[in-house]
Homo-oligomer: 474 residues x 2
C-alpha cells in the first residue's frame, strides 16, 4: 500500500499558533502510526487534546490559519481516511486522550462514551453494567469510538443490531468553525430538526470531529449458541437465513458466509486455528444465535439443520457444544483477514449487493476475472447484510507483485459488476482517500453535488480531513 | 386550531409558467384539506404530478420563479408542516397520484414504494408478499409514505422496528433545484458518502421532495399475543418492560402506557369501545408480542405477569385469548386520541424523555400545572421509546375556551421541564410550523446554525416548504 504524505512542516514553523503543549493538552511534531504498521499520518503537528474545549481550540486555530486537520482514532481504517494526503502538512488531531466514560444508564440502555475509548473498552463497560453494546469488528481492541462512528463501522452483528449509526443516539462534536455541537441526547425518539447526527456519522471527519457519543445498549441475550453449516451455494445460504429468521426472528445475531479459500489460507498460514471440517467445504455459514431464556440454542440449531437438510440447502454441520467451541468458530472467522494478509492479496473489495443479486454477482465476477488472468478468490462476509469481502489472490505459488499491472483492471471489473447490480463499492469501510474516485465514478451525480454543497456550507475553508470522501476543491 | 394562509394568487396569475394541466399531470387552482378537516393548504396552484419527472418540472419552475412549494401527502401531520404560511401563495404539490409499487423483493425484505401510497397500502402489499412493514400509526389509512418519511413518523412499534428512518434503505427525491436524487438502493450497508437519505428523512420537505422510497420489510412473527397489565406506576411499568425484554428479547413489539384519564374519556365519549377493567386503573400497559413459532405468547405473558406480580410491579391483568381480543386492546389504545378530540384539550404535547426521567417528569409536571390551574391530564404513549403524549384538559365540566389564556403558560411549563430533563419537545410529530419557536428556544444553537447553513446551501431561494422547521430568512 502506498504511504501518503510526509512530515513536512508548513514554512518552518507550524502555522497553528495556539498549539502549545500546556494549552491543548500536549502537542508535538510527530506522527501517528496505524497498528498494522502499514500507514502513517504524518503532520507538522500532532495535537492530543484532553477535552472537547481543547479540540475546539485546535479546530478554531486551524480554521483561522487555514491548516488542514486529520482526525486520528485507532488508525485501523482500511481506506486511508486517517492518513494525510500530499500537500501542506495537516495537524494530526488524535482523540486518544479523551477516554472518559461520561455516564452509564443501564436501565435506559444508554452509555455516554468519549471518542478515544476503544470499542473493546465500551463493550466491557456495557457488560459490567449488565448490558451489551451490539457492535463487533475484528479490530475492536484498537479501533476507537470516534472513528467507529465517523466511518459508520459495521461488522458481524449488523444483521441484528445495525451499523454504528443505528447504535448511536446522539453526538457531541466540534464543527469546522470550532463551535461545539451539544447533542448527547439519551432519547429513542427526537424529531426536533434535521438529523445532524447521522450526517456526521459516516462523514469520516470531513464535517466535524466527534468527541463523544450517546450509545445505545441492548439486553445481553440469555442464551447463545453457534453452528458451522455446510451449504451448497451462497443462494442456499440465503434461503437458510430466511428459514432461520422465520424460526428465530431477531434471535439470529450473525450469519457469516465463508468460502473455501479462507479456511485453506488459514490451514496454511495459521495452522493453530482449529477447523470444524477435515476438508474445507466450498461454502459454509457461521450462524450465531442469542435467544431468550426459554429457548435452547443448540436445539434450535439442530432443528434448523434438519429443516435445511430436508430443503436440500445444508449437507453437513457442527453445532457448538460449549462457549469455548463457539469462540473457536469465531476465531476461525475473525482470523481470515490475517490469513489474507499473510498470503498477500492482489486486490481487496468491500462490497454490498442486494441479497438476491449475490449469486449472480459471484458467477459473473468469477467468469470476468478469469478473462483477466488466473486468480484465487477468497470471498467471505456478512451475508445477511449483503456485504461481502471479495479478495483476489495470485494463483497457487504465484506472487502478488507479478499481478500488479492487473490491479486496475480487476478493480474496475469487480466494481463495474457491483454497480451494475445495484450494489455499493464502499459497503462498510467507507470512502476514505482510496475510494474518492470510485465515489465520483459510481455515485449519483446529484447526490455528489449535494454532498459538496453541504461540505462547502459547513467547512468553507476545507480544513476538515481534506481530500477524504470528496476531492479537495481546486 | 388556527388556520394558516389563504387562497391568494400571486399577482392575479400563478407565476409558475409550466404548470399547465397536460404537462405536469394536472394542475388546478385549489386547496388540499386535511382528513380531520382542521387544516387546509391553500395555494394559488395545486400540482398533481404523476411521475418524478413531473415533480422535477414543477420544482424547477418554482425555483426559477421563486415561488414556494408546500408538499402534500395525506395531510395528517399534527404540527402544521403541510399547511401554507401567511404570505405569497405557494404551490401545493400533492403526491397523491404517485401511487405505484415499483417493486417487491420478499426474499430481500425490500419494497419500493412511491410517495403517494398510504401506509396501509404499503402494509397490505408487504403482507401479500409474506412480509411485514414494521411501522404502525393511528392515521395509517390516510397518511402517505412520502409524508411519513418526511416527518420520520414513529408509532407503536418503534420499540422493535424503529422509526420510519430505520425502515428506509434509500430514497428518490427531487432537490430544491429540481434535480433528481436517484438513491433507491436495496442495500443494508452502504458507506459511499454522506447520509443524504437520513438528512431528507425528518426534514419535513424543506430540503427536497421524497418521491419514492426503498423500504425495509421484516418477517411476520410466527405467533402474536397481547396483554393489558395494571401497573403501580410509570416507574413500575419501566421495570416491567426491562423484565419483558430480558425474557423475550426483541419479541416485545409494543409497550404502551395508558393513564386512567384515557379510558375514562373513552367510557364517556365512545362507550362502544370495550374496556378490560371495570374501573380504569391509574396506570396500565398494553404489551404486544411477536414471537418465534416455538414460543407461546399467552404463556409468555402469563409468566411475565407472575414475575411482575412477585416483584410488586403488576397487580392485575388480562391476557388476550384470541386475535379478536388482541384487536380490542389495540382499539382501546388507538381510540384515545379521538376521545381526546371529543373532550377538547387545552394543550397537547408530543414529548420524549430519557427513560429514567419519566417518573420525575410526571411528578413535577403535575405539581407545576396545578400551580397554573385545575386540569385533568391524559398521559399515554410509547413508554419503551420514552415518548409520551401529555395532554392537558379542563377540569370535569369545564370548557377549553375558559383556559385559552393559560395555554402559553402550560406549554412553557411542560416544555421547560422536558428540556431540563434532557428530553425533546418534538418527539415523533416533528417541528412543522407550530414548533419553530420551540426549536429556536430549546435547540442547540450550533445545531440550529448548521441546519440553516445546510438549508441555505441546498435551497438558496428558500422555496421548499418555506417556514417549516426553520423560520424563513428575512
Amino acid at each position: 500500500m502506498a504511504r501518503f504524505g510526509g512530515a513536512q512542516r508548513v514554512g518552518g514553523q507550524p502555522r497553528c499558533q495556539p498549539l502549545d503543549k500546556g494549552r491543548v493538552g500536549g502537542v508535538q511534531h510527530g506522527r501517528a502510526c496505524a497498528p498494522r504498521g502499514r500507514w502513517r499520518a504524518d503532520g507538522g503537528v500532532l495535537a492530543l487534546p484532553r477535552t472537547v474545549e481543547e479540540v475546539a481550540c485546535v479546530v478554531r486555530a486551524c480554521a483561522d490559519a487555514r491548516v488542514g486537520i486529520v482526525p486520528w482514532g485507532g488508525g485501523t481504517g482500511l481506506v486511508g481516511g486517517q492518513i494525510a494526503a500530499p500537500g501542506p502538512a495537516p495537524v494530526i488531531l488524535s482523540l486518544e486522550r479523551m477516554r472518559a466514560v461520561r455516564a452509564v444508564h443501564p436501565d435506559e440502555g444508554v452509555l455516554i462514551a468519549e471518542a478515544g475509548l476503544t470499542l473493546a473498552e465500551v463493550q466491557a463497560t456495557a457488560r459490567d453494567a449488565g448490558r451489551m453494546f451490539g457492535l463487533s469488528i475484528a479490530s475492536e481492541g484498537t479501533a476507537r469510538i470516534g472513528g467507529i462512528l465517523a466511518t459508520n463501522a459495521g461488522g458481524v452483528n449488523v444483521l441484528r443490531y445495525g451499523n454504528a449509526r443505528d447504535l448511536c443516539l446522539g453526538l457531541e462534536a466540534v464543527l469546522p468553525d470550532g463551535r461545539v455541537l451539544h447533542g448527547l441526547k439519551r432519547l429513542r425518539k427526537d424529531n426536533a430538526g434535521y438529523d445532524l447526527k447521522d450526517l456526521l456519522i459516516g462523514a469520516e471527519g470531513t464535517l466535524g470531529i466527534i468527541t463523544a457519543a450517546s450509545l445505545r445498549l441492548h439486553p445481553i441475550p440469555a442464551r447463545t449458541g453457534a453452528a458451522m453449516l455446510v451449504v451448497e451455494s451462497p443462494a442456499a445460504a440465503l434461503a437458510l437465513l430466511a428459514l432461520a429468521q422465520a424460526r428465530l426472528g431477531e434471535g439470529v445475531s450473525a450469519f457469516e458466509l465463508i468460502g473455501r479459500t479462507g479456511p485453506e489460507f488459514l490451514a496454511r498460514t495459521m495452522p493453530e486455528v482449529r477447523q470444524p471440517f477435515a476438508r474445507p467445504p466450498a461454502w459454509m455459514v457461521l450462524v450465531d444465535l442469542g435467544l431468550p431464556g426459554a429457548m435452547d440454542p443448540a436445539a434450535a440449531l439442530e432443528a434448523l439443520f434438519v429443516e435445511g437438510a430436508e430443503a436440500g440447502l445444508v449437507s453437513d454441520g457442527v453445532v457448538a457444544q460449549s462457549e469455548a467451541q463457539r469462540a473457536e468458530f469465531w476465531t476461525l472467522r475473525e482470523s481470515i483477514p490475517e490469513a489474507n494478509r499473510r498470503i498477500g492479496a492482489v486486490s481487496s473489495h468491500d462490497i454490498s449487493l442486494p441479497l438476491s443479486e449475490i449469486a449472480e454477482f459471484l458467477d459473473r465476477a468469477g467468469q470476468a476475472l478469469a478473462r483477466i488472468g488466473e486468480f484465487r478468490i477468497n470471498c467471505f462476509g456478512h451475508l445477511g447484510d449483503g456485504n461481502l469481502h471479495y479478495n483476489v489472490f495470485p494463483p497457487e505459488g504465484g506472487s502478488r507483485d507479478a499481478h500488479e499491472h492487473q490491479r486496475g483492471a480487476i478493480k474496475t471489473c469487480v466494481h463495474d459488476l457491483v454497480d451494475g447490480l445495484g450494489g455499493s463499492v464502499a459497503a462498510e469501510h467507507g470512502v476514505g482517500r482510496f475510494k474518492v474516485g470510485d465515489l465520483e465514478r459510481y455515485g449519483d451525480p446529484t447526490a455528489l453535488e449535494a454532498m459538496r454543497a453541504i461540505r462547502a456550507a459547513l467547512d468553507p475553508a476545507g480544513i476538515m480531513n481534506p481530500g477524504a470522501v470528496l476531492r479537495a476543491p481546486g
